[in-house]
């Protein structure tokens, strides 16, 4: 059977349109997954080479604090609340590749040099919110425990049902990366990660572990709650 040009165009056209329609609202062809992974790795090394400690987040003049409009989320079924009666006194443990492992109570944290940052929150969903965080700079904490040079990654763990996220050391040591216990001038509430949480504008919201319990300096990546569920591990802005 011969196919003339008109017929060829009709057949190819319908096949292409059908393929396009079939892929709509799907995850796309399986075969593409390797390529997407490859692109993610390349993007990550590009983003890491772009990263500068001098690049600071600044809020637009006239922008309002989000206050109660800041969404709250956690992965447990109910708001994770640290109960002293059943769990004992809360403390933040800092360990891994460090000279002087530490256990800090909330009061210890409050007594350390305090920083305030009025910065943007960049959510993976596309929204932003302006907030003011009060806490201790991660750089200060790394100095305090004597983090090793070989510790290229930091894992931030929580009491929110196993939630944790590991970071590259550059982002963790950015001057705007803090362990925060205050939000918009108040002590952090359970909705936003009390007693203390990680906060930095250089990472997407999901990388900022709330309900902190432990900070571990590590020689390699250790995944994370959302990165293990298919979101980018790097998640940098």
């Amino acid at each position: 059977m011969t196919i003339d040009r008109r017929r060829f165009i009709t057949i190819t056209g319908s096949a292409v349109s059908a393929a396009i329609l079939a892929s709509c609202n799907s995850r796309g062809p399986k075969a593409a997954e390797k390529l997407l992974k490859y692109a993610e790795r390349k993007n990550e090394s590009l983003e890491r080479s772009l990263f500068r400690h001098t690049a600071m987040d600044e809020t637009i003049s006239g922008s309002r604090l989000a206050g109660n409009a800041l969404p709250s989320y956690f992965v447990s079924r109910t708001v994770p609340v640290w109960s002293e009666e059943t769990m004992g006194p809360w403390s933040l443990e800092i360990g891994g590749m460090v000279d002087r492992p530490l256990k800090l109570s909330l009061q210890n944290l409050i007594d350390l040099p305090r920083v305030h940052h009025r910065v943007n929150h960049y959510c993976v969903e596309g929204w932003t919110a302006v907030e003011q965080w009060t806490g201790v700079s991660m750089r200060e904490l790394a100095r305090l425990v004597g983090a090793h040079r070989e510790a290229r990654y930091v894992d931030f763990e929580s009491f929110d049902d196993g939630y944790h996220e590991s970071w590259d050391i550059e982002s963790a040591m950015h001057p705007q990366t803090v362990i925060a216990y205050g939000l918009d001038g108040h002590m952090l509430g359970p909705a936003h990660g009390a007693p203390a949480r990680l906060y930095s504008p250089v990472k997407l919201g999901y990388k900022n572990t709330k309900y902190l319990t432990r900070i571990m300096f590590l020689p390699q990546k250790n995944g994370g709650y959302w990165s293990d569920r298919g979101y980018e591990w790097y998640g940098g802005v």
């Binding site: 995850r27 990263f51 919110a129 979101y231």
Partner: protein, 240 residues
Amino acid sequence: MTAKRHHWIVRLTHWINFVALTIMVGSGLRIFNAYPRFARRGETFCCYPWEGTPIPPKLTFGGWLGGARHWHFAMMWVLVVNGLVYLGFIYLHGEWRDLVPRRGYLRDAWEMIRFYLFVRRDHPVQGKHNALQRGTYFVFPWVGLLAVLTGIAIWKPVQLAPLADLFGGYVWARYWHFVSMMLLVLLSFVHIFMVFAVDPYSIRSMITGGYNPDNSPEARNARPFWHILPNRSRKSEAES
């Protein structure tokens, strides 16, 4: 008589752009649906009438937010590299002269509009493209550039803060990213409509490169859906 109308690089980059742009728009709309509004939390946004209305999922691609992001951040490289190859080629090879508006552009464009509205009887004399096509194909890369720059701005709003500031900060950069996408989609739909309604013969020229000037809209005096068939009377005149 058939002449080569489009260089193979132009044809190849055209179709790669079609696929890459379709995937970029689809995955971009899926990302948009995760927060289908522009306002910063706790604020309102002046300039988008459909704040909070998601795009119909059928029009999106990627399946879920993370998946759409993977597609978006992979396909952006195809889109940008392909665009640079195309622009570099038409610059070096001279095709840009067919696209850049010439002197008297507005008058030529006005004449085309008059012709399409049946105010003017004869198709204006044109070169490779008519004035409205020129305008469209000239504007398209510029809107594309705006889409790429605003896209980079909202991808790295802290590390490349000056770029985001250039567009008025993250919220506005995200808005202009959306607007430039809408413009690209609009121009593409007009383009596709006109190809089928006025010059279906150009489809062949964008696949094999071949184009018979006797079938050009100018030769056929073609308006949308009018005179879509080749100008047979002229041929018979030539034969007699």
